[in-house]
């Protein structure tokens, strides 16, 4: 087993639970905390009284965001989370995973960036998935009115589409299309009163992009989105091996320049001269990557990069990525 795999085994998986106001986040949390699944979760919440569960692993937090002095204009981080996760690590044996809830109005970027910025947090935890709870009844209107809501969709690895009993099938299809327009690669789970199987929410291995990319809807490859203001997602495959140094130079220049608009980028890369797959991920300008073990037997060694954000220039991104070929 490689060192990387050893490390990721020891790391505590963290699920970030975000969602619109009134979408049913608390119901879902209560469901996670009370259901019989044989696993224990520490939960970092932002409103104590809300949760009707008596649990010494529930921690009240204050969403305290600060700006890093690292030259990244959009690098805001949750300092309270660094402290709380550090403290939770002192009783690591007491739980199997951590769930971080954010308020309905919060931009998910600071919480996601926290997992890139702090060394201790990076060392001891791994961001398993961003789960966004969406209220089917109000979602279309909320997306019109709130940029934070759009970001919550853009950042999501998993979307729980709640209250589906309040809308008809045509509406549901419209909602799904709207979500896919923002984030084509997200897993969508329809639900009523947060009744989703927990296996759909927890232990997603969110950044095991191989899995995420399996969900790739082909029709999107042919669709050009040209909404000026809208958040869209784009995916770029390259079948030849990629030159590692050239890729890093290109992506860091790109994120430095456009990181404010590129909310999230992620990919699986086949670097020339390496047998292992390289998983790349970034939140705005903060990027990270790691070799994650060999390609499967008979698998096509195709590199693929996904961008989710605003003002994405498809030809330019494609040319840039293709210029990294070894």
């Amino acid at each position: 087993m490689s060192e990387t795999q050893d490390r990721s085994k020891d790391q505590v998986p963290v699920t970030v639970l975000t969602g619109f106001l009134g979408a049913g986040k608390t119901t879902l949390l209560n469901h996670i905390l009370t259901a019989e699944h044989g696993r224990k979760y520490a939960v970092v919440i932002n409103e104590f009284g809300e949760l009707g569960v008596d649990n010494d692993l529930v921690v009240d937090a204050d969403e305290e965001v600060f700006e890093m002095n690292n030259g990244c204009i959009c690098c805001t981080v949750r300092g309270d989370l660094i402290r709380i996760l550090g403290s939770l690590m002192k009783r690591r044996a007491k739980f199997d995973g951590i769930i971080v809830e954010t308020t309905g109005l919060a931009d998910p970027a600071p919480v996601a960036q926290t997992f890139f910025v702090d060394e201790e947090v990076r060392d001891k935890t791994r961001l398993d998935a961003v789960v966004t709870v969406v209220d089917a009844y109000n979602v279309l209107q909320t997306l019109e009115e709130s940029p934070e809501a759009v970001h919550q969709i853009a950042f999501a690895d998993v979307i729980i589409l709640n209250k589906t009993d309040l809308v008809d099938e045509a509406k549901l299809a419209e909602i799904e299309a709207k979500i896919r327009q923002i984030n084509a690669y997200v897993k969508i789970h329809p639900a009523v009163r947060g009744n989703v199987p927990l296996t759909d929410v927890l232990d997603q291995g969110g950044f095991d992009l191989q899995r995420a990319l399996e969900y790739e809807p082909d029709f999107l490859e042919n669709t050009e989105h040209s909404h000026e203001e809208g958040v869209t997602s784009m995916s770029f495959p390259v079948s030849e091996p990629i030159d590692e140094a050239r890729f890093h130079a290109w992506i860091s220049a790109l994120l430095q320049e456009q990181g404010a608009d590129i909310l999230r980028s992620k990919g699986i890369l086949n670097f020339a001269g390496h047998n292992d797959r390289y998983a790349f991920q970034a939140v705005h300008m903060m990027a990270d990557g790691d070799f994650i073990g060999p390609w499967k037997e008979g698998e096509k060694k195709e590199s693929r990069l996904v961008f989710i954000g605003r003002n994405l220039n498809r030809p330019r991104l494609r040319r840039g990525f293709e210029s990294c070929r070894a």
Binding site: D56, V59, E64, F66, M68, D80, R83, R91, V117
Partner: protein, 350 residues
């Protein structure tokens, strides 16, 4: 309990070690130097009496908190300890007896106590608030409000002022003043720890971006001390304030606070362990001796003038997470993230 025969370093000749359950979060000696306590992530205080410190059978364990102990301090007088925890309680432990002094709304992450031996002031930080209490621990004196969660508190040497670090700087308050506003020292970013010069010349904070920031207290002049590969989790001025010893590199970094330093002066380095991070430092209260704990569990004692290095204990038990001298300089204690605790009696004949 570990076998003394297998110990190496001066702990083998002059001290004792024990293995306990839980992460060691802090350690210190009581005000009268009669006992030495270790706090754990399980909520316990492990107390070693000075007289029989090498006989671990005489050490006692007291459950002080429900959940991890986050902060530990000697009480104002006597053999007691003050502690704060994730249970949001401030506790006083004397012998085997635990008394609750306060219940806060947030975790009590920092406890400080200034004492002149008779009277004193107790402070604890809970969320954005620092609470000041009289020596009895029951009399509430003041509540100091800060713009964000307090990440460290420190009294000046005379107990007249208390400083707290937080986002975008630090706040300095006069303890006995009725004036409700703080002198705020501003610097953008997240400040995660604090120290004050023993003669009140400077206030130093540790920052999220792996460097230190400081303010000269006479005129508010900013100082910046950078070059660390990791966050500085531990900082301590030497007894006379000439040097600031810090963790955060694979050797002990010492910044000079004389001849105009640290501005424009490079730091000195004491020997370390190549490739192994220093995680905790403590300075001797009477001599020019610095002790350093490392990420592999090693503790080294170093004489600043001769640069002589004395191993206190060898690697094991994970990162050193607690390290402290008693106020009389006679006892050194250390603890690690995997529950290895040790004490050394520096007065004992070798």
């Amino acid at each position: 309990m570990s076998d003394k025969a297998t110990l190496s370093g001066i702990v083998a000749e002059r001290g004792a070690e024990q293995a306990v359950e839980g992460h060691i979060t802090a350690c210190c000696a009581s005000r009268d130097n009669s006992s030495f306590a270790f706090a754990t992530g399980e909520g316990d205080l492990l107390i070693a009496p000075r007289e029989t410190i090498r006989d671990t059978a005489t050490w006692t364990t007291v459950q002080a908190h429900d959940g991890p102990v986050l902060a530990l301090s000697p009480d104002v007088t006597g053999s007691g300890f003050l502690s704060g925890g994730e249970d949001c309680r401030l506790k006083r432990t004397v012998g085997g007896a635990v008394e609750e002094l306060a219940k806060a709304r947030r975790w009590i992450e920092h406890v400080a106590c200034w004492s002149d031996g008779r009277k004193g002031t107790i402070a604890f930080a809970s969320g954005k608030e620092v609470h000041l209490r009289g020596a009895d621990g029951a009399t509430a004196l003041r509540t100091l409000e800060h713009p964000s969660t307090v990440s460290g508190i420190v009294f000046d040497a005379k107990g007249k002022r208390i400083a707290a670090s937080h986002y975008n700087g630090a706040s300095m308050w006069f303890v006995n003043s009725k004036d409700s506003t703080a002198k705020v020292y501003e610097w953008k970013g997240s400040h995660i720890g604090i120290a004050i010069h023993p003669a009140g010349e400077a206030l130093i904070t540790s920052m999220q971006e792996n460097d230190l920031h400081g303010w000269r207290l006479s005129d508010g002049h900013n100082m910046r001390m950078s070059g660390y590969p990791t966050k500085v989790m531990s900082l301590a001025f030497t007894r006379n304030g000439k040097w600031l010893a810090t963790s955060g590199a694979d050797s002990v970094i010492l910044w000079p606070f004389f001849n105009g330093g640290p501005m424009g002066k490079p730091p000195s380095e004491l020997p370390g362990i190549p490739g192994v991070l220093c995680t905790r430092v403590a300075t001797h209260p009477q001599q020019d001796v610095v002790v350093a704990g490392f990420a592999d569990g090693t503790v080294l004692m170093m004489d600043q003038s001769s640069e002589r290095v004395l191993p206190v204990c060898s690697a094991g038990g994970g990162s050193v997470t607690a390290l402290s001298f008693s106020a009389d300089g006679c006892i050194l204690g250390y603890g690690t993230e995997d529950g290895r605790v040790g004490v050394v009696d520096l007065t004992a004949p070798a």
